[in-house]
């Protein structure tokens, strides 16, 4: 498991998406973590210190895993870049418009495969 800084992580994530275009999946996991063991955390709590939490992000394509942790300061910047990457790569999803629905309904009738009998 490779722990990276924010920007290299984003670059690696981009190339993962690109590699997975023909075949394969990309998993991205988000979890909150303080990155400290339970013992240390309990000590901090009893000492009265605020425990610093970060957002742990992991990405894998089944073969390789990369990860990074985002703190409060960086999360907005990461959020924006992450959203851009997703938007750029999730192009295989269907676009659904009402006009298309009617057209596809007609096309289905022509082909003789009426899966949705009532939808106008």
């Amino acid at each position: 498991m490779v722990l990276l800084q924010l920007d290299p992580f984003l670059n690696e994530l981009t190339s993962m998406f690109e590699r997975g275009t023909e075949t394969g999946s990309v998993w991205v996991t988000l979890k909150r973590s303080s990155l400290k063991s339970k013992v240390v955390r309990n000590k901090m709590v009893t000492a009265g210190e605020a425990v610093e939490y970060k957002c742990l992000i992991r990405a894998t394509n089944g073969k390789k895993t990369i990860s990074t942790s985002v703190g409060t300061k960086d999360h907005q910047r990461f959020q924006a870049s992450y959203a851009t990457i997703l938007k750029a790569h999730m192009t295989a999803l269907k676009k659904r418009e009402r006009k298309d629905k009617k057209k596809s309904a007609e096309a289905d009738k022509r082909e003789g495969t009426s899966k949705r009998p009532k939808k106008s």
């Binding site: 999946s25 998993w27 991205v28 996991t29 988000l30 909150r32 992450y82 192009t91 269907k94 676009k95």
Partner: protein, 103 residues
């Protein structure tokens, strides 16, 4: 595995799940370009909520959900979430930062 059909229900229950146990709740996203499918999962290792889709408009909604989770995870589960201005609500956690920049 519980697949939820309504997006809004999925969002609400995921946020509830996270707020109830922020340390063990995680949010997983799986995207398969070759199949054109997107699956989202939120679990606290006891309960699991899933949502799957192949629609581009749901991907846009998912981006908003990503923002919500980022904010919740980085700032803390007590953050007030007005979905639109979820990013800008910095004032709810005075204990961590005493800077008060945005005023």
């Amino acid at each position: 595995m519980v697949y939820i059909t309504s997006w809004d229900e999925f969002v609400e229950r995921s946020v509830q799940l996270f707020r109830a146990d922020p340390d063990s709740t995680r949010y997983v996203m799986k995207y398969r370009h070759c199949d054109g499918k997107l699956v989202l999962k939120v679990t606290d290792n006891r309960e699991c909520l899933k949502f799957k889709t192949d629609q581009a408009q749901e991907a846009k909604k998912m981006e908003k959900l990503n923002n919500i989770f980022f904010t919740l995870m980085a700032r803390g589960p007590e953050v007030d979430l007005s979905e639109v201005t979820g990013k800008e609500q910095t004032d709810v956690q005075p204990t961590k930062r005493g800077r008060g920049r945005k005023q």
